[in-house]
Symmetry: C2
Subunit: 191 residues, 2 copies
């Protein structure tokens, strides 16, 4: 997506060969109009998949996901990060290891907000190892629903996430694909 | 705000004299069109305050705050919850005690995304004790910016939050004010 790539070129900060800061428009300060256009782009891409709900992972995916859901005219569901395992009988849970934060948490989905007929679009800000997206897929499948697509704002194409999700049989649509990072250098996969 | 109150009447679940679950349209599953209308209502209410940024607290306030920011045509900034105190010289931080979760965290704001000329609108989903809103005010004032208003989706008017914020000299606009909760009973302050 052209606009997102331009914004990354202008404001993204490559801190190392693996860390890209996009704090000024996605993760900390958020540009609402960019989020709206990102949401419309996802909605356009997935418009023929019969999406019934948009899932996202707390919390950086919420802003783009809510605009995607609005454009598709379906609800959004925020998969919650729980750091402790409290026994709750009315939820689906799956453990996730966050590489960036080096913590484990239980991604949680209340059973009320998913059913076997749901066609789920998973939206997240970053795809790196694919750990978070794979957890969202596990939760969806635990609930008996179908993952109809995965939409990512920024893919680190030099990491294993895309391959991992494609091996599981899922379509991944990334709005910006980064082939290489180095201090002060950002290269896109399709430049 | 009429629509929000209707939604609370229809889908809110009073679990006790202090706990109101709104998981089906605000906190877990999110109704994007309601969020858009909530954002437009806040923007209309605060349109003459010269707002330059909308602040919200991670993560339930993000969806309504991003629509508020879009309607006001300003950026949104997500105040982050950090559970550990890592020394970072380029951030403002203030400690918050979460009564509902019984944890302490450091609410964090990067210095880059606030300046002394900013007129800040703080948006949050709930106002109960006012602890989170007071922390957002402290951060704003640490940065030398001005709190121009506080917008709340659901106020528990039987708790101390509104009084506390008004004593500090701030205007609080709550879209739904609840005067009493009891198991399966929700009463509004202006009914």
């Amino acid at each position: 997506m052209k606009l997102l790539k331009e914004k990354i070129r202008q404001e993204g900060v490559a801190l190392s060969d693996s860390i890209l800061k996009v704090d000024s428009f996605i993760n900390h300060q958020v540009d609402p109009d960019l989020m709206r256009q990102i949401g419309e782009d996802f909605a356009e891409h997935f418009k023929d998949q019969g999406i019934t709900k948009v899932f996202t992972i707390e919390s950086s995916g919420i802003a783009p996901a809510v605009y995607t859901a609005m454009s598709l005219n379906v609800p959004m569901v925020i998969l919650k990060k729980q750091t402790s395992k409290i026994l709750q009988t009315d939820v689906w849970q799956t453990e996730v290891l966050s590489y960036t934060k080096n913590i484990r948490y239980d991604l949680t989905l209340a059973k009320n907000y998913v059913n076997k007929k749901d066609q789920i679009l998973i939206i997240d800000d970053f795809l790196a190892s694919g750990e978070a997206a794979a957890a969202a897929i596990r939760l969806t499948e635990q609930a008996g629903a179908t993952v109809a697509g995965i939409g990512i704002l920024i893919e680190k194409s030099f990491q294993s996430g895309r391959g991992r999700l494609e091996e599981l049989g899922f379509e991944v649509y990334s709005q910006a694909r980064i082939s290489r990072l180095a201090k002060d250098t950002i290269e896109f996969a399709d430049d």
